[in-house]
């Protein structure tokens, strides 16, 4: 290899550089220079057809992304925005092919410099299939992921920097980029500031309290059922998992009726015995209490089942060693069982927190985020995501909804970061 390079250094331009330059100028040309005519032609045809079919679309898309249209009623800012985002993705694919073409020209030229024989057509196809195989496998999923998950999220990201709301909506009006104005409004304008602060703090309280309660209850029950003195373990387990097995929307709606102040059984049949009437749906405090109780009911079985599964894998001899040393039950729990359980399930527990942070269903189905609160435009039990839903689908404050979505996204990324660090799969990635 080293001598080969010394030989070729003498020449002015190495073939590999020349092939690369040719392919940079016109994709396929470098391949033709390498005497790989069929491949060159294919690259050329792919390039031409790519440009012919997408040039117009990308051109308008990119222009639209920057300007969001210039003529009201004729240009639809939202459609232009989406077209722009899709253009970026199509462009990304184009650039990937382009770079592949350049790299390919270079590696073929190197092979020719080394006097390796050109592969036959069959061999070439085979190599292409081998090297491209993982890409073929992920392509269908990747495309769906891009259009169904990534483009919509990018779109929300973009909306946060526009002035798209009920009064300023296409096709009647054009949108424009407003920079960080929406975020400034969120902290400066009173109604937004107050609402944001109260919704945000309730979201945090909700996430922490509800999730922690369901984990603690699940853990406690798992330890109890695992006690060797307890009989009928299977039956008890099955019963305890029941709330998980019933579709959540059904249970939440049942609870919503149970807590209903006029006909709900909790006030009418149970609390009336003690002459207590609690305004479960109309008082924000009691609505929050009810929500946390319901979520604990809904969420503990998953944690319970998880811990029950992991408990079987705690090594027996560790307990035996602790017994020899005269360890108390509490010490065994504290130093053997808990570390083992938490280590094995940490990523899933983090996901429980993330799940409740985004738990739209329970908030919306229980009480639609109500009761209303004076001086703010979200209900008393609204968490960030249900507030975003209302802003989007009820009051059409798209720009503010998007800005709040971005803040949520940042918080979720923190969850994700912890999960990266806790997930064992990533620690083993070193083998690649």
């Amino acid at each position: 290899m080293a001598t080969e390079q010394n030989d070729t250094k003498a020449r002015k331009i190495q073939p590999r550089t020349l092939a690369m330059i040719l392919s940079i100028i016109i994709p396929g040309l470098g391949q033709i220079y390498n005497r790989r005519f069929l491949k060159g032609c294919i690259f050329l045809i792919v390039t031409i057809s790519f440009l012919v079919t997408t040039w117009n679309f990308i051109d308008i898309g990119i222009w639209g992304l920057f300007t969001l249209g210039t003529i009201p009623r004729e240009h639809h800012s939202i459609q232009l925005l989406i077209q722009g985002l899709i253009s970026l993705i199509v462009l990304g694919f184009g650039i990937a092919i382009y770079i592949y073409n350049i790299k390919d020209a270079r590696s073929d030229a190197i092979a020719r410099e080394l006097k390796r024989p050109n592969p036959t057509l069959f061999q070439g196809m085979r190599n292409f299939y081998d090297n491209g195989f993982p890409y073929f496998m992920i392509l269908p999923g990747l495309l769906m992921l891009l259009f169904i998950v990534v483009v919509p999220l990018l779109f929300m990201l973009a909306l946060a920097f526009t002035d798209y709301n009920q009064y300023n909506a296409p096709p009647r009006n054009l949108l424009s980029w407003v920079g960080f104005q929406n975020f400034v409004d969120l902290t400066k304008i009173d109604i937004w500031k107050n609402t944001f602060l109260s919704v945000f703090s309730w979201t945090i309280v909700w996430t922490v309290v509800a999730t922690t309660l369901q984990i603690v209850l699940g853990l406690f029950l798992a330890l109890l059922v695992n006690d060797p003195r307890i009989k009928f373990k299977r039956t008890i387990r099955t019963f305890l998992i029941l709330p998980w097995a019933v579709p959540a929307f059904v249970s939440i709606l049942i609870f919503s009726a149970l807590f209903n102040p006029t006909f709900g059984a909790i006030n009418r049949d149970i609390l009336s015995q003690f002459n207590v009437m609690i305004p479960w749906l109309s008082d924000p405090f009691w609505a929050k209490v009810a929500l946390i109780m319901i979520q604990t009911w809904l969420g503990f079985p998953f944690v319970f089942a998880l811990f029950t599964g992991v408990l079987q894998s705690v090594p027996r001899d560790m307990y035996e060693a602790a017994d020899v040393d005269g360890g108390t039950r509490w010490q065994k729990l504290r130093h053997i069982t808990l570390p083992h359980l938490l280590f094995a399930t940490a990523p899933l527990l983090i996901m429980q927190y993330a799940g409740n942070f985004n738990n739209f269903n329970i908030i919306y189905l229980f009480n639609e985020g109500n009761p209303a609160v004076r001086g703010q435009n979200a209900g008393g039990t609204d968490i960030l995501i249900s507030w975003v839903y209302k802003l989007t689908f009820e009051s059409n404050n798209y720009n503010m909804a998007a800005a709040i979505t971005i803040i949520m996204g940042l918080i979720i990324s923190v969850f994700a970061f912890f999960q990266f660090r806790k997930t064992a799969s990533f620690k083993e990635e070193g083998r690649y």
């Binding site: 993982p134 496998m137 990747l142 919509p152 003195r229 929307f249 059904v250 993330a354």
Partner: protein, 282 residues
């Protein structure tokens, strides 16, 4: 000394059983209440009884026989979406997971990070754009549009789950097969898929049940009642006039909750082992 310890232990066990009993009541009461509501006559919730004097199946009958009831259509719609979603998600995610578990390629690591991050973002966040996209390709108010969103949205979580499981299958197996001359697809088909059956069953089950439980996406995508899925249809029973239709809602819910709960209880062991092996062992 020995006697008192035994006594203490017995008291402890009694308390544990009492605690279980309390939990059973807390778990069972709402479900039992809903069941009893569905057997109450009429639809006036103010006069319902926990133990109805004349238990009746009229609400169940109404669901299936009344010309005003779309229950069977909703059931069919849900089943259709569920089957497609279940089969489609297994195909798409196992292909992705195979590539990520067994091949080295550009963007692999970032792809994994992307999955892990995206699985935490609820589909709701991008709903506006999704609706507009569906609208441009004419798939709003269509079950196909709904399937498309389900199929795309499940990828990050499930690809991650299945990839984790594939990683636990020894690489020596496919290397041995490669030496015997098996191609990429053959290894995938004859080695990976059969060995990964438990996790694929979990993915299939999850995605089969999702359309029965989700009401939000259908609510945004579907508008005409004959396209509704069960969850959305039932939600609308009580959404408009809450107190008037709850008995009917209870009957309809029980008919989907019972089969789902049964399947779930039968299969939950695999679910748990799949989740823990995928997420922790890698």
């Amino acid at each position: 000394m020995a006697m008192s310890r035994k006594k203490k232990s017995r008291i402890e066990v009694t308390f544990i059983y009492i605690f279980f009993l309390v939990m059973f009541i807390i778990i069972g009461y709402p479900l039992f209440w809903a069941l009893m509501m569905s057997l109450n006559e009429g639809s006036n919730m103010l006069v319902t009884d926990l133990l109805p004097k004349n238990p009746t199946l009229e609400h169940y009958k109404w669901l299936f026989t009344s010309p005003n009831s779309d229950y069977i259509i909703w059931y069919k719609n849900s089943l259709y979406v569920a089957v497609v979603n279940s089969v489609g998600s297994v195909i798409i995610t196992s292909l992705i997971a195979y590539a990520f578990s067994r091949y080295k390629f550009v963007g692999r690591k970032y792809g994994l990070y992307m999955f892990l991050l995206l699985q935490m973002f609820p589909a709701l966040m991008g709903m506006v754009a999704l609706y507009i996209l569906l609208n441009t390709i004419g798939l709003t108010d269509s079950l196909y549009g709904l399937m498309l969103i389900y199929l795309g949205g499940q990828i990050p979580f499930n690809a991650w789950l299945v990839k984790g499981y594939f990683d636990t299958i020894p690489k020596e197996l496919d290397e041995a097969a490669k030496i015997d001359g098996a191609g990429h697809l053959k290894i995938f088909w004859t080695i990976m898929l059969p060995l990964a059956k438990p996790i694929l069953a979990v993915v299939a089950l999850f995605n089969f049940m999702a359309p029965f439980m989700d009401f939000l996406l259908p609510r945004i995508v579907l508008t005409s009642p004959e396209k509704y899925t069960l969850a959305l249809g039932l939600y609308n029973f009580i959404n408009d006039q809450f107190s008037t239709n709850f008995t009917r809602f209870a009957a309809g819910s029980i008919l989907i909750a019972v089969p789902i709960a049964l399947v779930f209880l039968l299969l939950q062991r695999y679910l748990i082992s799949g989740l823990t092996s995928g997420a922790t062992k890698g």
